[in-house]
């Protein structure tokens, strides 16, 4: 699992690649919480390079989302692929979060 961060306007974009499973989820969560600690409140997670996520990863996402909500921030998701999109749909995450097809469409609407 790799995360690259970059800033675009007021949004912090985190591009995640590889797999978020029970082994890598703690590192993913830690890095995202660090960004929130640094004051970022609008976070866009680009999942175009993410090939796999398990419930451990969803748990981390929920932790991140709850933390951001408490700070009046919000997390958005972009470009879910294959199995990751399926997991989002089955778990109901597709309904509780805002999911966009591309960074461009997300940045226009947030």
């Amino acid at each position: 699992m790799e995360i690259d961060f970059r800033k675009e306007g007021r949004a912090q974009i985190a591009s995640v690649k590889g797999r978020i499973d029970a082994v890598t989820a703690p590192e993913f969560e830690k890095k995202m919480l660090e960004v929130i600690e640094q004051g970022e409140r609008t976070i866009l997670i680009n999942m175009s390079g993410l090939e796999y996520i398990s419930s451990a990863g969803l748990r981390s996402i929920l932790t991140i989302a709850k933390k951001l909500k408490a700070e009046n921030g919000e997390v958005f998701f972009v470009a879910l692929q294959g199995a990751v999109e399926e997991v989002f749909k089955i778990s109901g995450f597709h309904s509780i979060f805002k999911v966009f097809d591309s960074e461009k469409s997300a940045l226009e609407k947030i």
Binding site: E51, S55, A56, K69, E86, I90, I96
Partner: protein, 141 residues
């Protein structure tokens, strides 16, 4: 069960090896890449539950066995020597609700029941034996 097996100590340090093993066997059986990811997901969820609950008080091994059963399906048997732990007895989590209400637990077992065609648990002596049967679909080669 006959088939190809991998036996390793329970623990997250061996998760990747277990998943690679199951995925390789399932690929040989002919599943497409999406179905392979579903199989990897459900195997991970079952293993993590075993690591956390069946082996919460002690350590031990997990034996994964895979077998293709002709056109009927692909069978994964996950065997451990921990405390009795029947995933079929875990209630389905609430998947509605907003970010604030949403609970974090229980999703893994929910995935297993949604994505695996047959999920069978039995206790045999000091072993928990969990069997997944994944049907072959017409689109699988």
């Amino acid at each position: 069960m006959e088939g190809v097996s991998l036996r390793l100590p329970a623990g997250l340090e061996n998760l990747e090896q277990f998943i690679s093993f199951v995925s390789g066997q399932a690929r040989q059986y002919g599943f497409d890449s999406l179905r392979l990811k579903e199989i990897e997901l459900c195997t991970e969820e079952a293993l993590v539950n075993i690591f956390n609950y069946a082996y919460s008080e002690k350590t031990g091994d997990v034996v994964l066995t895979c077998r293709g059963d002709g056109d009927k399906g692909f069978i994964i048997e996950i065997c451990d020597y921990g405390e009795p732990f029947n995933i079929n007895s875990i209630p389905t989590p609430e998947i509605d609700g907003d970010i604030t209400d949403r609970k974090v637990g229980g999703l893994g077992i929910y995935f297993i029941h949604r994505l695996i065609d047959e999920v069978i648990y039995r206790r045999e002596g000091d072993m928990n034996i969990l069997t997944f049967i994944i049907y072959k679909k017409q689109s699988d080669t």
